[in-house]
């Protein structure tokens, strides 16, 4: 909650008009898509209106935050460089660009091998949650927005349903087949993925001394509790209508709705925002795999090639935009700024600077 108040205060103080405009446009566009996609709300389920408004709010928040984020000098630099490199004709000539992209998508987004290296159980937990959330999102949003609905197809000899997307029938499926079972139970499957995922992650957070040391409730537990609540109440709904003849169904439906709405509203603020931020890693992959072919920056002290020169020069520009001035005083003009000395070189020079102020005398 502290995080929330802090953030809302920040919002009020530094309302970002450009981002506000972008967020408003994005929200309006989503609204229009909902109306068009549901055939003027003909296919819109009025019972899901709460979800719709929460989604619109989330869209606004996410776009706003993303836009603000992109205005930060380092982010802007990477954003620009990422696209530049992605579109660079040189990289398209030999199809390097799509290959870099494909590799990054597979490793960083789909397989997430870096989470595996943190620990296999983290990876298992994160993959379960991620898979469950993606599945749930793919089902929920089109249904909520009225983009997808089902109509009855044939009654005999095999009863079928027709899936309607944006009001167009796209597929007819058998009522008692595997495909229909999966279609109508996709959210159940999602919750069955998310719940063990949350359990694994929670278990780790409670026992792992390293995690216990640095975690915070609002940052690390709140999103887990929200995800668990959504998945668990959703599962209860299913239990209620499938096995208990709708026992307590209305109250459960309300409860589930609130948990989902709460989570949607939380999306732009907390940890879950990383879902939208994370694809930036693709731009970095570009930057890195491309820059490894470029001229390296050479440390003026140690002589080591410690980074791509483009990155260190970009950084000098970014630091300047951030009002840092690490340029040298008293040397010839080509003396590099402090940030263009390798980390090891900086540490050695700090040691020497210390000896110098002590005049090599000690006590």
């Amino acid at each position: 909650m502290k995080e929330l108040t802090r953030l809302s205060k920040m919002f009020a103080e530094q309302l970002h008009w450009g981002a506000l405009a972008k967020a408003t446009i994005a929200t309006a566009l989503l609204g229009v898509t909902i109306i068009l996609g549901s055939r003027n709300l003909a296919n819109f389920d009025a019972a899901l209106i709460g979800y719709t408004f929460a989604s619109l709010f989330a869209a606004f928040g996410i776009v706003y935050r993303y836009s603000v984020w992109l205005t930060k000098p380092p982010t802007r630099m990477y954003w620009r460089r990422g696209w530049q490199l992605f579109l660079s004709p040189r990289l398209w000539k030999n199809l390097r660009s799509p290959r870099i992209l494909a590799e990054a998508v597979v490793r960083k987004i789909v397989v997430q091998d870096f989470v595996w290296h943190r620990s296999p159980e983290r990876w298992a937990g994160h993959m379960l949650i991620a898979a469950g959330c993606v599945l749930a999102a793919l089902v929920t949003f089109p249904l909520v927005f009225g983009w997808v609905h089902f109509t009855q197809g044939a009654i005999t000899p095999e009863p079928t349903y027709i899936i309607q997307v944006f009001g167009f029938g796209v597929r007819e499926i058998a009522l008692h087949g595997l495909e229909s079972w999966f279609t109508f139970h996709a959210l159940i499957v999602a919750s069955v993925l998310v719940i063990p995922g949350v359990m694994i992650v929670m278990y780790r957070r409670m026992l792992d001394t390293g995690a216990v040391a640095v975690q915070r409730f609002s940052r690390d537990f709140l999103p887990l509790i929200l995800l668990f609540a959504v998945a668990f109440t959703g599962l209860l709904l299913w239990v209620s209508y499938e096995f208990l003849e709708g026992y307590f169904y209305t109250a459960l439906a309300q409860l589930h709705a609130w948990t989902v709405i709460g989570t949607l509203i939380y999306l732009p603020f907390g940890k879950l925002f990383h879902i939208f931020q994370r694809p930036a890693t693709l731009g970095i992959a570009y930057y890195k795999s491309h820059l490894s072919e470029l001229e390296p920056a050479c440390c003026p002290l140690t002589g080591e090639e410690y980074a791509p020169a483009v990155q260190t020069k970009d950084l000098t520009e970014v630091l300047h935009e951030l009002d840092f001035d690490y340029s040298a005083v008293g040397g010839p003009p080509e003396t590099p700024p402090w940030n263009e000395i390798s980390p090891a070189g900086k540490r050695m020079l700090i040691g020497r600077a210390h000896s110098k102020i002590r005049n090599d005398r000690f006590d």
């Binding site: 380092p74 982010t75 630099m77 960083k108 870096f114 989470v115 943190r118 792992d208 001394t209 390293g210 995690a211 040391a213 640095v214 940890k271 990383h274 931020q277 994370r278 930036a280 890693t281 970095i284 930057y287 050479c298 003026p300 002290l301 140690t302 002589g303 980074a307 990155q311 950084l315 630091l319 840092f324 001035d325 690490y326 040298a328 005083v329 008293g330 040397g331 010839p332 080509e334 003396t335 402090w338 940030n339 000395i341 980390p343 090891a344 070189g345 900086k346 540490r347 050695m348 700090i350 040691g351 020497r352 600077a353 210390h354 000896s355 110098k356 102020i357 002590r358 000690f362 006590d363």
Partner: protein
């Protein structure tokens, strides 16, 4: 129970390069086997001097501001933390921007890790591990009052100057009483160093008495007679 965070002092002159700080640091559960303290030989050809570096916890952290992913956070105790795992994209900006050369990028887990003043220990009222094990007191965690009483010959300061940039830090460095700011004037200190030749030459012309190799030794001893007998040529040299 509110824990009072004390002050962290670095007294560079006491460092003996034993790496006990790094060895102890590696034991921490938050970064398992990887030390966050870095001990560097300052000028191994000249002197056994070493320099221990932990995060200085800048009041306006260059690392956090240069992070494109907004992943580096400062807490209410002034501690700058390792990057948040969900956000960090391991771009290396922080590593290259930090004026003290502290952050470390771990490509395998796509995260920047750095000294967080042993948040797990300090938040529980203990000393950071490096300060506990440091055999000389080069890294020291105490109240300002106790430190001033214990080391009257030095004075703690927390201002650094890198060229035009002034950096204020949460950590203190012990310096002589007549020093108010740690000036790192690298153009002088770099003179004669191993980098680009033209620059090194120019710097050496400008600062003939500074930089590498360091101050000339005061003793001037003859090499023993006979030691140079059969002085060897380059062609015989083999390296590891």
């Amino acid at each position: 129970m509110t824990v009072v965070f004390k002050e962290f002092f670095i007294d560079f002159q006491r460092c003996i390069g034993c790496e006990a700080c790094a060895a102890g640091c590696a034991e921490c559960h938050t970064h398992r086997g990887y030390p966050m303290v870095q001990v560097d030989k300052v000028d191994p050809a000249m002197s056994p001097q070493t320099s221990p570096m932990v995060c200085m916890h800048c009041k306006v952290p260059t690392c956090a501001l240069s992070c494109p992913a907004d992943a580096i956070k400062v807490d209410e105790n002034g501690i700058v933390h390792s990057s948040l795992k969900p956000r960090c994209i391991a771009c290396r900006n922080c590593e290259l921007a930090c004026p003290f050369g502290v952050p470390m990028i771990r490509e395998d887990i796509q995260q920047m890790q750095k000294c967080d003043m042993c948040f797990d220990r300090t938040a529980a009222g203990k000393k950071p591990m490096c300060c506990t094990v440091c055999p000389t007191g080069a890294l020291h965690y105490n109240t300002m009052e106790n430190m001033l009483a214990a080391r009257p010959h030095s004075k703690p300061i927390n201002k650094w100057q890198f060229g035009n940039q002034i950096v204020e830090t949460r950590l203190w460095v012990m310096v002589p009483h007549d020093v108010d700011i740690m000036v790192v004037d690298w153009p002088e200190l770099l003179a004669g160093a191993a980098g680009p030749i033209e620059l090194a030459v120019k710097l050496k012309e400008r600062f003939p008495l500074q930089g590498f190799p360091g101050p000339q030794p005061t003793r001037d001893e003859p090499v023993p007679v006979g030691a140079g007998v059969g002085s060897f040529s380059d062609t015989e040299a083999e390296y590891l």
